[in-house]
């Protein structure tokens, strides 16, 4: 059980590093120029949506991982 918890912690750490990489690669260079003064707000809005989608995907992966690692223990 305890090794499962350490494994889950390690998996979360790796997912955070990978998620951060995707954030930087996808959102970092993203910008919009053709909407005049509003380009900053529109680009930020799109970044918010992409970030939220990434967070949802992150939670779904984590949920699957949790069920896989703790399938015996979660059989309450």
């Amino acid at each position: 059980m305890k090794s499962g918890l350490y494994g889950f912690l390690f998996a979360m750490w790796v997912l955070i590093l990978l998620g951060g990489g995707i954030m930087v690669v996808l959102l970092g260079p993203f910008s919009i120029q053709q909407f005049g003064d509003f380009h900053w707000a529109i680009a930020s809005g799109i970044k918010v949506i992409v970030a939220l989608v990434l967070v949802v995907i992150w939670i779904l992966i984590l949920s699957k991982l949790k069920n896989y690692i703790f399938k015996k223990e979660l059989n309450f």
Binding site: M1, K2, Y6, L17, W40, A41, F70, E73, F76
Partner: protein
């Protein structure tokens, strides 16, 4: 660098000794006023004073005011204001049972001084990959971060000494990471949190003489969240907090809604005849970190606490590795 040493020593001593010296009289006052709750994990009918948040906030505010005298940073003001607001929110919840949404919403409001004081940098730093500029998203992150860290620490305050012991490890880890990243001023601002937690742990460790209550747990969590933001170490802070994050994640993914612990009917943990803790088979009870630790076999309260501390050490090591990785770019 030398000029930072004296404020550091003074603030750390104040943080430690204010809590160390004010907690015993606070326990006496709370017991006298009958502000006590039953320790559910003791065989005998043991009543424990609550809330200890009062001495915790005194230690934090006193030490941070001294630091403000030396540095006059808006970041220190943000720590003082937001942490005090979190304490007051927790104190209201200690005195009066509030709904499940009260704390998250009120803590989101408590985060606003960080924005108004401009005590943040909207670049989010990731290890290996560098920074990403997210000005609008970062404002949302600030608003969400304080309720998340506050409630995360609150949710792990389930056994004697766990919340304060957990904070000792997590906050000193965060301070070490800030020193590694050469963010010396914020590292010094963060140190009182570790010393306050350490002093409080003396009275909170098993067998507890005082519980931090919501006021103490939210104070710990909110200050931790503010330091993460003002130090620009949000990702590292989240990693150091992973065991508590897992606890909240397991709880929310099993309950599937934001709800107060006291509103949950099912019991995740029960006692054996020799008063060890064991996980139940109750399918309506939430899955928690303690329940998972106990899934293999029953353990004493002390053993469960130490298992959580070992997990926190492990995530602390991962956080320090992450801090070193911040200097590497792919």
């Amino acid at each position: 660098m030398i000029e930072l040493i004296i404020p550091t020593i003074i603030s750390c001593l104040i943080a430690f000794f204010v809590v160390y010296l004010t907690t015993p009289p606070l326990i006496k006052i709370l017991v006298k006023k009958n502000y006590t709750v039953k320790d559910m994990n003791k065989k005998e009918n043991v009543m424990v004073a609550r809330p200890g948040g009062i001495s915790i906030i005194l230690g934090i505010v006193a030490s941070e005011i001294v630091l403000y005298g030396f540095f006059q940073l808006n970041e220190i003001l943000a720590v003082i204001i937001t942490t005090t607001a979190a304490f007051l929110i927790g104190y209201v919840d200690d005195r009066k049972v509030m709904g499940g949404w009260f704390k998250p919403v009120a803590l989101a409001v408590a985060a606003l001084p960080i924005i108004f004081l401009g005590a943040y940098d909207s670049d989010l730093a990731f290890p290996l990959f560098g920074d990403v500029q997210i000005p609008l998203l970062y404002l949302g992150l600030i608003i969400f971060m304080i309720p998340i860290t506050g409630n995360t620490i609150n949710s792990i305050d389930v056994l004697n000494g766990v919340a304060s012991g957990f904070m000792v490890i997590a906050s000193f880890t965060l301070s070490i990471c800030l020193f590694i990243l050469q963010n010396y001023e914020i590292a010094i601002v963060s140190l009182p949190l570790g010393f306050v937690s350490l002093a409080f742990y003396k009275y909170h460790k098993i067998p507890s003489k005082i519980f931090p209550g919501d006021s103490g747990a939210l104070t710990f969590g909110a200050m931790y969240g503010v330091i993460a933001i003002i130090g620009g170490v949000e990702i590292i802070a989240a990693i150091a907090l992973l065991p508590a994050v897992i606890n909240s994640f397991l709880f929310l993914s099993s309950v599937k809604r934001v709800v107060e612990h006291r509103q949950i009917k099912g019991k995740p943990v029960e006692h054996t005849d020799d008063f060890k803790l064991k996980s139940t088979n109750d399918k309506t009870a939430p899955v928690t970190l303690v329940r998972l630790i106990l899934a293999a076999c029953p353990l004493t309260e002390k053993q469960v606490g130490f298992t959580i501390f070992k997990l926190t050490f492990f995530s602390g090591i991962l956080a320090i590795i992450t801090a070193f990785m911040m200097g590497i770019s792919l």
